[in-house]
């Protein structure tokens, strides 16, 4: 009997010791983790907008977060936007029904830092909508302005790839042509589908105008050598521009041995940009109509 008690006692003590060690480690590392993630995200976003690592970010550049929610009530659904306000700080909650007409607007007192955290933000939106409605987070977009004028949007999206999901971040200009694309996460085969991370695939999307994107297709042909060199950045700036102009209405050249991945990315990007274009037009109309003062 004594044996068992000793055993149990010693086991419990070791468990507690282990738990303490792990707990302490967790607390230390989770802060570092969040910080690193944030820094990495910022880097990716600036790179997409055209500012490579280490380049000077102009002080007139500002990023405005817009959060989109799906509000559900018993009989219908609507889309709720959290837009940053121009003057008083905080956000404005704009509820638009599925046909594009305004339902209501309400000021939401939430600071930018608070809005980055999921919980305070959801609580604020729930309070703005009132009881009896369900609130579901849809996505978040960043509107980029320079000197108050809109220069672009940063979108992120997730779609089905060849194996599992592919997560991308896109930068589009106000006319919805693509400024940049970055593949954030994927689980494709190395050497085959994983090549979607390579410059010579991603850069094919750069500069594609909205009209070309809406009808985009993937063609199974090898990339012409000179275009390939331009995509890989092996030629001068003006040459890259020239090739971009020449190929901007062309289809995307598929990756060797990864046609399905290439198609998935092309269709995924098309879906993200077309849906966003529709939504932002609806939102802009409402904002203009109602003369709402937002920061972009």
């Amino acid at each position: 009997m004594k044996n068992i008690i000793t055993i149990v006692f010693r086991l419990t003590v070791s468990c507690l010791l282990a738990a303490t060690v792990m707990g302490v480690c967790f607390i230390f590392t989770s802060n570092a983790k969040k910080h690193n993630e944030h820094v990495k995200e910022q880097q990716v976003m600036y790179a997409l907008l055209g500012y490579e690592a280490g380049a000077e970010i102009p002080t007139t550049l500002a990023m405005h977060e817009v959060y989109r929610y799906i509000i559900g009530s018993s009989d219908r659904q609507s889309i709720g936007y959290l837009v940053p306000r121009e003057h008083e700080g905080g956000f404005l909650f704009v509820n638009i029904d599925l046909n594009g007409s305004l339902l209501e607007t309400k000021p939401v007192s939430l600071s930018e830092a608070e809005a980055l955290e999921v919980e305070p933000r959801t609580k604020a939106v729930q309070a703005a909508v009132g009881p009896g409605h369900s609130v579901m987070f849809a996505d978040q977009t960043i509107v980029v302005t320079n000197n108050g004028r809109r220069t672009g949007y940063l979108l992120s999206g997730k779609f089905q790839g060849f194996k599992t999901f592919v997560k991308v971040m896109l930068a589009v200009d106000p006319a919805f042509s693509i400024i940049g694309m970055e593949v954030l996460e994927h689980e494709e085969d190395p050497g085959l589908g994983a090549e979607i991370e390579q410059d010579y695939f991603k850069n094919q999307f750069k500069g594609k105008p909205f009209e070309a994107l809406k009808a985009i297709a993937v063609v199974k042909a090898p990339i012409p050598d000179d275009y390939l060199a331009a995509l890989n950045g092996k030629v001068g700036e003006e040459d890259i521009e020239k090739f971009r102009e020449e190929y901007k209405d062309h289809d995307i050249y598929a990756l060797t041995g990864a046609t399905i991945s290439s198609r998935a990315v092309a269709n995924g990007v098309k879906g993200i940009v077309t849906k966003f274009a529709y939504r932002v037009n609806v939102l802009d109309e409402v904002l203009k109509e109602q003369q709402l003062a937002v920061s972009f």
Partner: protein, 313 residues
Amino acid sequence: MTLAKTRYIVLASLFFLLAPIFARAEGLIAGQSFKGNNEIVVTFSGPVDRTAAEEIKNYTVYEEPDPDIRLVLKSATLAEDGKHLILHFVEPLNTAIPHAVTIKGLAGIEKTTFKVSKSYLGYLFGILISALLINNFVFTKYLGLCVFFGTSKKKDTAKGMGVVFTLVMVASALMSWFFYNFILIPFNLNFLQIVIFIGLVSLTVQAVDTVLRKVNPILFNSFGVYLVLVIANCVIIAVPLILANSNYNVFETFMLALGAGGGFLLALYLMSSVSERMQLANIPPTFKGLPIAFIVAGQFAMAFLGFSGLQLF
């Protein structure tokens, strides 16, 4: 637990899984599914008015997560018998996402709404097949090799190991799921994952050992000796880790565990069949034993690569 009892339990759980199919919603809509790339086929329980059904303005279709983006219909064609309707869309549909269809003013009902999605059971089986073949734990994910090479010498050993394995895998996966969803997440103790999971696995092995010893000593004599080897195996911990990563629910966890165990059994069986023949072959001395086993496994892995991208459901 006799074989008959086990069979009964398996059948009962299968029926339980299939039940939702039989409890379909009644009313106007008898069935709906995706067809091809850009079509939805709807079956009505009775013939409906042709003009109302073929008027595309009466239809609102959208993908469930995007209710504000309406999909554009090209045409709605009603079949001769008035019961089958084909909705043809301009753009190809993303069949992986459930779609919601609303029909206005059909058969006197103001609004009929229903969802179209790929069958859930199909999805579950998809996970099973994926864990079994496409993402076979031994040949595609390269886990469980340690024990793999040790027990794949004879067919009987292989079968025994595989069965015991599947059993422990399913039990520990289900227990891990409970722990993960009801204790780890609510209390934000995610970092204790590893410790808890391996604790559960050891517990399961111990439990299976004791139960088997008492309930069926004959079975224990043939399989019991492999139980100890189970703990030293990477796969047994991989299954709870995967389910924690992908946030599966109970059914999906069950399918994953079954598939993983089944895949392991398959891999062991294949290897042991080959290994029995290898013992009669003429192998150079440097390659005897493990090296040739590895090379054979490599060839199997190449063969299994052919399964990748398989999409049955």
